[in-house]
Symmetry: C2
Subunit: 363 residues, 2 copies
């Protein structure tokens, strides 16, 4: 019912060193907690969304997973009490590099300690506990969220009965690391970044837009774009006079979307969360990915992935499904032929919805 904030009164020790004080975690909830507190679903997000995963009476604007969450929807708010977490380090209400450090009265910026996926998972766990939930019905997340649910299960054995990891991975491959590293460098090379000390009215917009375009290219798939754009030329009025203006529809599409992005997202927050994705390695929790997965204290798992995903290739979800199987756990692996690449969970709803609905119905 709209954005809420959990304020932690104890210091928050970061996994890679450093301590945060007066930490806040923003979240939203939908539905009602059951009498036994056994119907809660905790959702972690991808890199950029806020906790506003779906509309509510308090905030009727559509959420980032609007078609997935609500009464009668796959994550059914008539049955489940749904919590979505704004990641620690994200600028939408949770403590982040854009927050004021209470010790100095100044914005953290690059003095913020190294952020890890485990820290994000712990932020969500604090919210669930504060809401009185001892055991989640499910912990669910796509993309970065699909990594965060793995960290959650590794850090908090028994805290969730089931896990749903969508287009996630046990760790980042060097191809994905290289792309994210380049996105970060593009932002850091923007003269307006000023080593993280940009002015509020003069953020590195150019770097953010270029990084966003690179993200958009790699979040989708070559096949989808071949079908969608082909070699369509941009409409005449959009063609700029300069010799490197926009020629093709695909360029105009990227330009329009990149222009939308930048004002909303604090660049330093982007850098921290992006790097957390590179640093995450589930093998840190047991010596190997397989060992870490075998330790998971969950009854059931749903692993979903998409064949056209460049950033988190389908083999990485196969690895999760294979590693989670055994020990009496019931594991469902959904390998989807969606054309929209890594972003499919936001777009190809007709494929994703029934699988998530079936899994959650059977809980």
């Amino acid at each position: 019912m709209g954005k809420k904030i959990l304020k932690l009164d104890k210091p928050f020790e970061m996994r890679r060193g450093g301590v945060l004080h007066d930490v806040q975690i923003a979240y939203e909830t939908w539905g009602d907690i059951g009498f036994c507190y056994d119907n809660a679903i905790l959702i972690f997000t991808g890199l950029s969304p806020s906790a506003h995963a779906a509309s509510s009476t308090d905030d009727p604007s559509p959420g980032w997973w609007e078609d997935m969450i609500g009464p009668g929807r796959p994550i059914d708010t008539r049955k489940f009490f749904v919590i979505c977490i704004n990641s620690l380090g994200s600028p939408f209400g949770s403590t982040s590099p854009a927050s004021i450090n209470p010790a100095t009265g100044k914005t953290y910026r690059l003095t913020f300690p190294v952020l890890t996926v485990e820290d994000i998972a712990r932020g969500g766990h604090e919210v669930a506990r504060a809401l009185g939930v001892r055991k989640l019905a499910a912990v669910v997340g796509p993309s970065l969220g699909g990594m965060t649910v793995l960290a959650y299960c590794a850090l908090f054995p028994g805290a969730a009965r089931s896990v749903v990891s969508i287009s996630g991975a046990a760790r980042s491959l060097p191809f994905s690391i290289a792309l994210r590293s380049l996105q970060r460098e593009i932002i850091r090379r923007d003269p307006l970044w000023r080593d993280g000390n940009y002015e509020p009215d003069s953020i590195p917009v150019s770097g953010m837009r270029l990084a966003r375009k690179l993200g958009m290219i790699t979040y989708r798939s070559a096949k989808e774009w071949a079908l969608r754009f082909g070699r369509e030329r941009a409409s005449a009025e959009r063609r700029a006079g300069d010799p490197f203006g926009i020629d093709f529809e695909v360029e105009s599409y990227l330009e329009n979307h990149a222009a939308k992005f930048t004002g909303q997202y604090d660049p330093n927050c982007y850098l921290y969360i992006s790097r957390a994705m590179d640093l995450f390695d589930l093998a840190d929790h047991g010596g190997s990915v397989a060992a870490a997965l075998q330790r998971f204290d969950v009854e059931r798992g749903l692993i979903m992935g998409v064949e056209t995903d460049l950033l988190f290739p389908i083999e990485q979800q196969q690895e999760l499904a294979d590693g989670l199987a055994g020990n009496g756990r019931e594991v469902t692996f959904a390998r989807l032929p969606s054309l929209q690449g890594h972003d499919s969970f936001l777009v190809d709803m007709d494929r994703f919805r029934p699988i998530i609905a079936d899994f959650l119905k059977s809980l």
Copy 2:
């Protein structure tokens, strides 16, 4: 035998408008022209190389295709007279945006007319004719060169008995266009680019390096990097103190290679040639790709491609092989499982050499 220059005394009309005067095309040759002038092979290059494809007595430094060209090598200089062309628009000796416009005495920069792959093909054709060659034994090219040989066959029917297109395409897909468009924008957003009017001692190095890194990421394959780098950390002495320094070996690899690149290549030339790749469409020569290929007046064709190529997916080479078949032409299609993506023709020599050798031996 070292770099030579062909100076054209007639005006060079560019395909998309504009006329160049006093055009120069740089090239190198190896081997001897036969008595019948029927043993010439014309090579077009990828985006960045010069005409120095192999070492020679005049220039003993290794060429960009050193393992492919020479006595006893697949392109055997004991048998063939080999010519490699520096593309029109490239800064290594041919007329380009970095050349002086004889009409003004100033560097062309962005006043250079729009460059097309067809213009590059014609530059090579002028060299072959000037050397007395009426009919080539083969026209050969990888990457951009693999497009240029198609333009060559479309523009000059009967000028080559056979065509070898390696990791090329009949046209660019929107995914590749988007990536190249982003590379160009990264360079153009570098404040030192100054709308193309950068100072010689102050070129947009940062933009060029970032564009180069993006190129390197997309020229190879995720599979290769997973095997090659895994999650290896950069060695201790390479780790910078700042919170966004280099953590992973793959980042250090990109940094080292990007640093090598920039001084050599004129940024405006890069922009022009990169855009030429986007604009090329073989369908301009006959209404459709299939119709254009059916018109080719060649006896034989060798089409090669690599399954891990992100920029020129294997389906695009399949399209060329299928389209070229028929009309009594003998077409060989080599679909290679190389791991090194688009760059494989420079790296996976053990796979490429025997196929090219066999094809040329049978000419």
